[in-house]
Amino acid sequence: MQPRYVCDDKAHEVTPLHLGEATTLDIDGHLVDVSLRWRDEHEGELVINGSERRFYTAQDGNTLYLHLAGRTWIFQCEDEFAGAGDQGSSAGRIHAPMPGVVVELNVAPGDCVEPGQGLMLIESMKLQTEIRASIAGTVSAIGAEVGESFDKGAVLVDIEPPASTAPGA
């Protein structure tokens, strides 16, 4: 097994090499001696290269949260069989920068838009943000209507570039 932990779009590989009183882990190609003691389900003490560190942890699905020395880490856990999970995103596809709700919609499918044109007004935690067109083209889909809520990363508006430009892969 070769677990992989993704943090800030960077994948790190951790391979256990020797399990014993102290464990040797291969972390991104470097060998590290580690031992660990759990204080309870969420709190542990890690001795790594001779120095001891307290940490706190909690996991939700494949998302692992870790607090260590004042810093909070959020890792996505993947195993070697998991694919990269990347979805090809075309230049005209606008994803929600945060979860929220649509308060104003200024375009409809079929409309021609210019780069920078205001497409919709969204709101999240009392903050309104204008969603603008990333490229010139024709609106091919609207991901959420006025009053509808959406998650972070959801497609809000899809813009088809003009026919003369080859669509992105």
Partner: protein, 505 residues
């Protein structure tokens, strides 16, 4: 300090007080009611049913609405609960109905006391255009501004061009606004129309009043506010709070006293605040907000007629319970303290813990609180409504809690805050603690040299520090052992291969 401490046994101020709020401030109000020996009623939307205030208040009643916010803004439901449960006063906290004159009037008509100032003061100060005229009329300084007529299609350009004091940048504000809602800075005529549209839309939505006004924006000024307490006859001030560390007009770090003021400047600004509150016949706790320019000039911005989010820094420096004072004054007690008896000690700092990705344009974050360890210790106060299992959604404001510290000096307070931030553990929702620590460590913050543009001007320096390799390795090793998959494999692996340290559970 001692001047504020009254006899522990007091005549009953109110029979029962309803807390018309949620989250940390609802719990804060409950603490004051407990201290004063007053029965309490919490109201809650279904999404908050497991929150601490619901469990701890004497009684708790569910309120319904299309959204959690709509429920908390539903005056009719709250009035019905007051009558049904024989409530004789309501504490509104901040936000929601705290500065809603219609709410205060409906309560008054129903014979229920609104814990806050009188209707006249709420109405006057709630209308930013009227309040500015009122303050200017009493001889106190206000910034240059233009009021815009309600409705579409007004040509603003000639109005701005006609006033030599109205040079860009300008700021669009909602007349019924406050707390940074419905505000937008504009640098040119090109941006002005869209900014007014957005501000008017937000204003209409949050305040039901689309009127906006344009004000000269001082790119390099501080936001300094003065805490006042009035009983309708007399007004005292409890010093100032420095609130210049802001993002999107929302305060992030506040402190008392302000490192910018010397004794003479402090006296001038505090006396102006007392003068304004006195002119308004103010009764309750209130805050007069000022812009303070690098040249030492100050201008009235607005007066907030509620308890403010950042009230704890004043409480820690002055040894006063502002919420308890609000309750006493609302019950008809007089201040019982003269300005000369008020004394300050030490320095306090507050950090607002927000569910946001502070290193990525402060975008809101959501999630579930999986693990929580609150900071504690000498001079550390944590005002929070957080609880394990809590779902943090976009339905409410991103502020989850307030971490406040007090120490003899500003330097010691900064250091105490850094330790407390490091001790605070919240897993499951991304919060801004590391960003806050970065601000506190910044040399300009340490020197007290900053203005409201600080976070924007230094955004390049206030980015996420990339971890040292050793730190990353420690985190990855801990992640590996914490990972559920590893734990399952360990359990399935027979001894001795599975023996790792003193593995438990």
């Amino acid at each position: 300090m001692a001047a504020f401490e009254k006899d522990p046994v007091e005549p009953t101020l109110f029979r029962k007080v309803l807390i018309a709020n949620r989250g940390e401030i609802a719990l804060r109000v409950l603490r004051a009611l407990e201290k004063l020996g007053i029965a309490s009623v919490a109201i809650y939307h279904d999404s908050d049913r497991n929150s601490p205030v619901v469990r701890q208040a004497g009684e708790a009643v569910e309120i319904a609405g299309d959204s959690p916010s709509a429920a908390h803004l539903d005056i009719g439901q709250i009035l019905t609960i007051c009558q049904r449960l024989d409530v004789d006063a309501v504490h509104p906290g901040y936000g929601f109905l705290s500065e809603n004159a219609a709410f205060a009037r409906r309560l008054q008509e129903a014979g229920v006391t609104f814990i806050g100032p009188g209707l006249d003061a709420i109405e006057l100060m709630g209308d930013k255009i009227r309040s500015r005229d009122f303050v200017a009329g009493h001889g106190f300084p206000v910034p240059p501004s233009i009021s815009l007529e309600a409705g579409e299609g007004q040509d603003i350009r000639p109005l701005v061009e006609a006033d030599p004091r109205m040079s860009f940048p300008l700021v669009v504000k909602a007349s019924a606004g406050g707390g940074g809602k419905g505000m937008n800075i504009v640098h040119s005529f090109d941006e002005l129309e869209s900014a007014i549209r957005v501000a008017a839309s937000e204003a209409k939505k949050y305040f039901g009043d689309a009127r906006v006004y344009l004000e000269r924006y001082f790119a390099s000024a501080r936001h300094i506010e003065v805490q006042v307490l009035g009983d309708g006859a007399d007004v005292v001030h409890l010093g100032e709070r420095e609130c210049s560390i802001q993002r999107r007009f929302q305060k992030v770090i506040e402190e008392a006293p302000s490192p910018a003021l010397d004794e003479a400047a402090r006296r001038d600004i505090c006396e102006a605040a007392v003068g304004i509150a006195r002119a308004a016949g103010y009764s309750s706790a209130g805050t007069v907000e000022f812009l303070y320019t690098p040249g030492g000039e100050f201008f009235f911005l607005e007066m907030n007629t509620r308890i403010q989010v950042e009230h704890p820094v004043t409480e820690m420096v002055y040894g006063v319970d502002l919420v308890a004072e609000q309750v006493r004054i609302a019950a008809g007690e007089s201040l019982g303290i003269a300005q000369a008896e008020v004394s300050a000690s030490g320095h306090a700092i507050e950090c607002r813990i927000c569910a946001e990705d502070a290193f990525n344009d402060f975008l809101p974050e959501t999630g579930r609180v999986l693990f929580l360890k609150e900071p504690a210790g000498e001079g550390v106060r944590f005002d929070s409504g957080l609880y394990q299992g809590q779902q943090v959604t976009t339905a409410f404001d991103p502020m989850l809690a307030k971490l406040v510290v007090h120490a003899p000096t500003r330097e010691a307070a900064i250091s105490r805050m850094l330790t407390a931030l490091e001790d605070f553990v919240l897993l499951g929702v991304r919060v801004n603690t590391e960003y806050l620590a970065g601000v506190l460590r910044h040399a300009c913050f340490a020197d007290g040299e900053f203005d409201t543009a600080f976070l924007r001007n230094f955004s390049a320096e206030l980015c996420e520090a990339s971890p040292a390799r050793e730190q990353l390795q420690a985190a990855l090793a801990a992640a590996y052992f914490s990972d559920r998959t590893t734990k399952l494999l360990q359990r399935a692996t027979p001894e001795p291969y599975g023996a790792i340290g003193s593995w438990r559970n």
